[in-house]
Symmetry: D2
């Protein structure tokens, strides 16, 4: 949002949100708009909607926030009774219009459009395979790779084609696909990224990365799409088929910890509730002798509420987060840089004065804001500051669709917990354990914890050399 | 923010935020930008900055959010060591570029610029006086009236001229004024709107509507400007003089209840703290037999925390507010309108199921969202919903710079508390009393409570007929 | 048009075009748009239209070409049955939105708007008079001065007020003025700038700087407004009254030579015809032994046709002028700068090879393109190049609304004709004489030839010192 | 340019202009910009430039005029020592950003970009072939087809690949192609569209649709690329090879008659000169007893000069064409529509009064402006009006890259010359004969005259059914 958000807010970044709708009775483009608005937190670089009236496809995409990309003028042209939408966060280089989604192509079977959340780990091989087949690629995106494999899959119907692509693609993908007469939702066999199915009260069905998009448009959740499943939504309602054999379930833990909106449902439980459980488990594992529990707002708030409930230490607001409206590219000057996190957070001294404070954060990535926040609390009168983090130390990069920072930047990959504690100037520091986290998630497995453990969910080794090669391909695009 | 925010969020609107800076050592335009960013909540229709290098004035203004109006290109041209800035919320008709502030004019004494927060109640007479003197007015704004009176005030120095204007102007005004060699802060004799003075660590002084702007740029609060005072900031530092005899102090209570940011200091106390006190007083006056206290986020949160602390009923989050990013002009369709507040708020059913809920809001203006929120809580499983409002019923319009809705729209001007309770479907409804509110504010007076009591702070009657006539003048501008 | 047009095309610049319309039967805004489109050559920096429906004024103004400033969206809001419009070329510093015209102000008698073509030579005194009366000025434009004097003129009707202003204003002005129920055209007592009156076939009347605007909207010319006259157009048709005693007529010769469109009527004769006469007179005064007559297109074409007809030497195209479309701010690089006029003009070698060429231009201002053009003709094979200029040497600056370049830049103010001939590398060079020019114009006087003779049309000396002081006032605006 | 240009100016439309440059010493992007500026007449809907620094490709494209699409900001990013550019006029449906050129794709051999002028007649088959190979197409453009065939051509070098594509492509194409280390120019075996090679004085070579682009950047013409040839420009200079066997030469006659700029060289002769020859031949074939020869400006001017020279009847300007600046989307109202061509052309009555006029136009397409122009001349006093057209009647549509109007709209496809004469109200009407046109072009063949004769240059029948099918494919794009 803010220049240096990476500095002022120490968070990982989700890469995308997807939405799909088949609903003859409503203004499909308008519904897509409001659903994408609700999924804005999953990607703020670009947005797009494609609709279809059974014959031709209509598309509008652009750089910027959903509210910036769409207006009444361009919505009007998005006619039809089925549509898909996408919000995008870009990880590689300068964001570019040509990388916006959904992608649309013409095939022998009519227009096809795709919106993708995730990252393929075998994208370099797939790109090479396409290039060797003489398909020129016009972007550096995995999603273009998927759509060209779809176009070239052969097969007599779209479910067959999608299965052919699923057999090839390794990695994280939650897809929405639009054809002339149906929309499809597809979730990778590991279930890395979320995808949910809902219905509209007046008829019609919807797909979304998160159920919060349903609330916004008055839809009701039916179920989560399961790993490896394909859902097809057409004039006859929806049907779900297995597209690829499900693998060892590996849902992204970070969706629970930070990414998803607290009012979304994941694995049948409200995310807000789950985060309170994480906070409670943290209180059990890492108690602190303190007077108040203070969250790092807003993302740490549910965890802090849970910590307070479990520990019996009163919950209190101690930091106010500026609700900056709109994004700016204005750079702070050198003097302003010194002000640092104060541009984003202000303390509430009355609440802090003379208190021993437990500061609860959902996660620490680079570790560059924790120190200034601890100092801010002390300057505002806090006697002690005990930092508690509602997930384990993040030590490994993500190749499955999350912009987690490189390994060199991850503070826990380079320092012990004691060193970090000293580095940020806290009186004590504790992270939630992996086992405790799983317990709070009521899970004995089924999650991808690679960023904490380095154990990636794929049976084959992560081909790091190939991933680097992927970068080389990206380099044909200078801008 | 959102089309129909008036519907989806039932709040009054502040009209403006002002900022001033005299600081030879820093990039004055950049500081002004970040300060206005922090004052964005006070006005989101337009923004402007004027700087001066001792000789000529540089100005950039535009429609939209601060982050939209300014970029590195236009900031670069705002040279100089003194500057003022303004964010604007417009109340009359379509917002227009020509009404953006600060205004800048040429006078015999060099360029003068002005930024204004407030509303003059004798503007129609003052406009007529100017027109009769043959001064053609190019906007419908009170602020243009003030600057023309300044230009024509005569007098040997700016403080004299400002005093002449203060003797004429009746109503609310917090002003920042820029001349060739100094900036001035002026607060009306009733102290209706806030204005604070601060200093920069590396030298230089700043003025702002609220101290939160200081935190953002690393400045420290010195003091609030007192009613009727003029502060002049120049090369020799600052001096404060009385510009007009102070009247019966009448600071806008709504700044405490809703407008100001919780991390701002008003009357020497953090607003967040004051709001907790209001909530505590509300708990004393209007207890409820309930299981949890739930705020209407975000503005009702501190009040709810106070209510929970005083009542001993646990605080809990029960509603999530969508952090819509960016504003949209897309209108909901009819089906989407039925979804209503669900586009802005989603419930957290696990927290609500089977619970007797105290729903705490800071204020109710039109009363059109309270009903849907009560229903939403019930649908999510709440057994009872007791609505508590941390201020008295709003029954009268504001003529001093707040867009409170017309009297016809104010629900409490048209219904009794019992009727409102039934209207919104609550199990019980209670407002804070005026006396209790004053107690929480540690005040025996000194506040303008006109919107609650109808007692306007001016000795003369509010010339309603004249206010209507003002509308007529406005009508020379068709767009 | 083009960066460095001052270099690539060596021309003086007109400062403005004005238009007015009173026509209950037609879409007044749309007519104004097309009329301004036809007057685009008189000013390309900014454009604006103000309309009135008898009660309120509607205004839209913006930077750029007429076609850029207006679209269907903003035209739609310009309602009413009377309107005025303006195209602007700016001479002082960076062009600014606030200096766009028409100006609109509120007065006791309703909205008043003004569009102005010309320059007041006593503007500094008038500005001071306003500032001393306490009127703050918000632009550096003469036109704002005029509108404030109008607003403060007193008087019982607008004609009286306009007369009061005319008694004060010294200099060049063709004005269109809009009030609630009428539009007014005003021409200064010297008749320096043109203003014509026309009628629409379906009822209603129009005013314009040039009659070419009438052809574009299907209006017919009635007459030219005479020096010192005021025309009022209202519901009862038009009436013309004397606003100030006419002075010694001093119409700008440059309108005949270069500014006005060839299809406009000036002094009862088509400009194209007049320019042929100038060319014929030039052939009489300055014959040349040559094989072909070649114009510098497009402005020198009619003069060259006249020269060819009189001299009997065949007319031929020898240079093609690039019809650059749209303006660019891209700067040529150093290598490209060397290409010079070739970016604007290309030769037609087949027409030139071995020929003795008479190159006819309408005027030479700075003299920086004539040399490269002569060289281009020689390089394309011309044996001799004889330059003939259809007006006298320009030696003095203009203070009456033309951007003629400063005296230091005028080549003929600094070199003799012989020196210029050598400087541009021509075989011979001749200018039209002042007497010959007057003869071609069928005039024994009645023209302002100050740029040729230094004899300004005002009985008082041109107060140069004051004009410099005017610059000082301009300097309160840094941007 | 102007809404209803098709009405106000009765002309065919060229589809594209291309440019290429390999020049290590200069700012390649800036040169491309000015060259495209000079080629603006060949396409005004969109423009784009791609550059390469030997490794990665940089691209900027946009809708609108060249001057609108590029600014210093985006030019700065177009780094490298080789580049290609494109201006585009769109024929099918609403112009769209995704159809802008050059196209850029990634291949196993690095980035490849293409700019295309022309139209393939076997595009539907080629599209189907690609789709059957599983290549999804993302636009409706022939040019995307070409680039995908290039990408999939196999072959060890680019010349081999281009030859493979040339063997498949039937129709009109002048291509510029960019690879990592060279640019290529390709001209179809029929030589339908022009392509010329030039050199820069400081080193480096350039390609362009027309030589006028060379003059603008100071380059010198080397030669025209011959039908079927490929030119490769790299670090070692240029080489020309035969890419496909040349077919019966069929250069587009309309380039000579109307499209190309008069200062371009085609077939070794200046277009201006060629047009004079066409006018002379017209005078021989279709003399008229008249007093003056008047062109329809600007395109008919050289033809009229030729007619005048041959016939001995004096040349005169009789119509002034408004130099509308910038394009507008404002629609004339009904009253304004009646004004008709007067919005674009104004007569010069003094030149016409009592005269028998020969009105020379370069071509008549739909025939809808000739009538109003004849009437305008008569209304201005012309005694007789004899229309002479410098090409034969246009009776057939073009499938090779020109937007000529559909056959239903072509007046000469639906009326005899006598009927047209009566329809436009002329005293006489004559067209140039095909034989006479060829004679004036000094050609016994070698031109495509299909629009006059219906004899298309391809040995196979024009597959009209397939062309209609192409439309069907286009229909997958609703917008």
């Amino acid at each position: 949002m803010f220049p240096g958000d990476r500095i002022l807010e120490d968070k990982a970044h989700e890469e995308c949100g997807v939405f799909g709708i088949f609903a003859p009775e409503v203004d499909v483009a308008r519904y897509s708009f409001f659903a994408l608005y609700a999924l804005q937190h999953r990607g703020q670089e670009a947005a797009g909607i494609v609709t279809c009236d059974g014959h031709v496809a209509h598309v509008h995409k652009g750089m910027g926030l959903v509210s910036h990309v769409f207006d009444e003028d361009n919505l009007r042209y998005l006619k039809g009774h089925l549509g898909i939408g996408h919000t995008r966060y870009s990880t590689t280089g300068a964001p570019k219009l040509r990388n916006t989604q959904p992608y649309v192509i013409e095939t022998l079977d009519g227009p096809v459009a795709i919106g993708h959340n995730g990252n393929l780990i075998n994208a370099p091989q797939l790109r090479r395979e396409l290039l060797e087949r003489g398909v020129g690629l016009s972007t550096s995106s995995d999603s273009e790779v998927i759509i060209h494999f779809l176009a070239g899959a052969g097969g007599s119907d779209w479910i067959t084609r999608i299965r052919i692509v699923m057999a090839k693609a390794e990695g994280a993908y939650a897809l929405v696909i639009l054809t002339r007469d149906a929309i499809y939702g597809v979730r990778d066999p590991w279930g890395l990224r979320p995808l949910v199915l809902g219905k509209l009260p007046g008829g019609g069905h919807v797909l979304a990365s998160e159920s919060c998009a349903f609330s916004t448009i008055g839809a009701q959740m039916i179920q989560e799409i399961q790993p490896g499943e394909i859902v097809r939504i057409g004039a006859d309602g929806y049907e779900i088929v297995q597209g690829a054999p499900p693998q060892q379930l590996a849902f992204c833990t970070f969706e629970q910890i930070y990414f998803s909106r607290p009012d979304s449902l994941l694995n049948g439980r409200l995310v807000h509730q789950t985060r309170q459980k994480l906070g409670k488990q943290l209180a059990k594992e890492a108690p602190a002798a303190a007077d108040i529990v203070v969250p790092v707002p807003d993302s740490g708030t549910p965890h802090a509420i849970g910590y307070a409930q479990k520990s019996g230490i009163p919950y209190s607001e101690g930091l106010i987060k500026s609700r900056y409206i709109g994004r700016t590219f204005i750079q702070p000057s050198d003097e302003l840089r010194k002000v640092g996190v104060a541009m984003k957070f202000n303390p509430l001294p009355e609440n802090l004065k003379g208190k021993r404070v437990v500061l609860v954060d959902d996660s620490i990535v680079r570790g560059n804001t924790s120190g200034p926040l601890v100092k801010m609390l002390r300057d505002a009168g806090a006697k002690e500051v005990h930092v508690r983090v509602a997930c384990p130390p993040i030590r490994f990069p993500c190749f499955m669709g999350v912009d987690m920072a490189s390994q060199l930047e991850l503070i826990a990959a380079n320092m012990s917990v004691e060193e970090i504690c000293e580095h940020i100037g806290a009186d004590s520091l504790a992270y939630l354990s992996v086992a405790g986290m799983m317990k709070a998630l009521k899970a004995e497995g089924g999650y991808c914890n690679a960023c904490f453990t380095g154990e990636y969910p794929f049976t084959t080794q992560i081909p790091l050399i190939e991933l680097q090669e992927k970068e080389k391909f990206v380099n044909v695009w200078g801008n």
